[in-house]
């Protein structure tokens, strides 16, 4: 067993050396051979990428996200309802039936509450 971890340790050490040595060499290179020369292109926001061409703070309709997030919540609940649906009423133990009813109660409550809060209406 100890041999396994010894090998792993050696592997880890080598895996660390490989990136660190070139980084160190690059740092030395930068220090000694290439002094900094800032210029217009070098100072650009994305030196090698596309300039953004319009304001980044776009406006978007927050209401869509509300719908989507509420959908997400109910979507996840469906995952738990699925075994219940697949078991059928005959095979399900009483405990399971009761617990799924409680679960559904919470689900209905959150639906009623969200409805009454006006989340489900497009304004």
């Amino acid at each position: 067993m100890s041999y396994d971890y010894l090998l792993l340790t050696i592997f880890l050490a080598i895996a660390l050396i490989f990136p660190l040595v070139p980084l160190g060499l690059a740092w030395l290179w930068a220090r000694t051979l290439s002094p900094a020369k800032p210029g217009h292109d070098k100072q650009a926001t994305y030196e090698c990428g596309l300039e953004s061409e319009k304001p980044v703070q776009i406006q978007f309709q927050a209401h869509y996200y509300l719908y989507a997030l509420v959908f997400l919540v109910f979507d996840v609940e469906t995952v738990f309802l699925l075994p219940f649906a697949a078991m059928g009423f005959v095979n399900i133990p009483v405990v399971g039936f009761l617990s799924i009813m409680l679960f559904l109660l919470l689900l209905v409550e959150s639906l009623v509450w969200a409805w009454a809060k006006g989340i489900l209406e497009w304004k």
Partner: protein, 166 residues
């Protein structure tokens, strides 16, 4: 599952997987990914893994995709459409894929277990039923608590993102 269906769904999955990458329009990419997920789900159904198949559709094609579309809308990705194809990068990518596939094939060929047929899958295993039994019998309390937790989540969504009444 008949082999013909398997090939059809695999082709669907791989084809739309490729379309996800090749499409310039992020929304079209995302929708291709949905179709790819559906093909994968069909493969699961073919293996009698119904529960995982349904989860694949509900969670990946449903919830995860909604999040993807979120991000796409939030970031307003348009720049991707104008990007030129970089020929050397493309060739390099193809070379790596070919090398990887070749390696995979050789390893599987030489690896003994890779040449043996799979053990037969028990047909018509009631997987959703079994999961349900475990969930309701052994993990009843965590299940209930998660129900409450989801109620917290839905309250949190509304409270944090509903527009303030001025």
């Amino acid at each position: 599952m008949s082999p013909i269906l398997f090939w059809i769904f695999s082709a669907l999955m791989l084809g739309f997987g490729a379309a996800t990458i090749l499409n310039r329009n992020p929304v079209a990419s995302a929708l291709s990914l949905v179709v790819s997920f559906l093909g994968l789900a069909a493969l699961f159904f073919g293996l009698d893994a119904n529960f995982i198949g349904v989860i694949q559709i509900l969670v990946y094609a449903g919830a995860v995709m909604v999040l993807f579309i979120f991000i796409i809308m939030l970031l307003d990705l348009k720049a991707e459409q104008r990007r030129q194809i970089n020929i050397p990068a493309l060739l390099g990518g193809v070379a790596i894929v070919v090398a990887f596939t070749a390696q995979l094939v050789t390893v599987i060929r030489s690896y003994k277990a890779g040449n043996e047929p799979f053990a037969a899958i028990t047909p018509n295993l009631p997987d959703a039923h079994n999961i349900g039994m475990t969930l309701f019998a052994n993990y009843n309390l965590p299940f209930q608590v998660i129900g409450v937790l989801i109620l917290v989540a839905s309250i949190g969504v509304v409270v944090l993102s509903q527009r303030e009444l001025k």
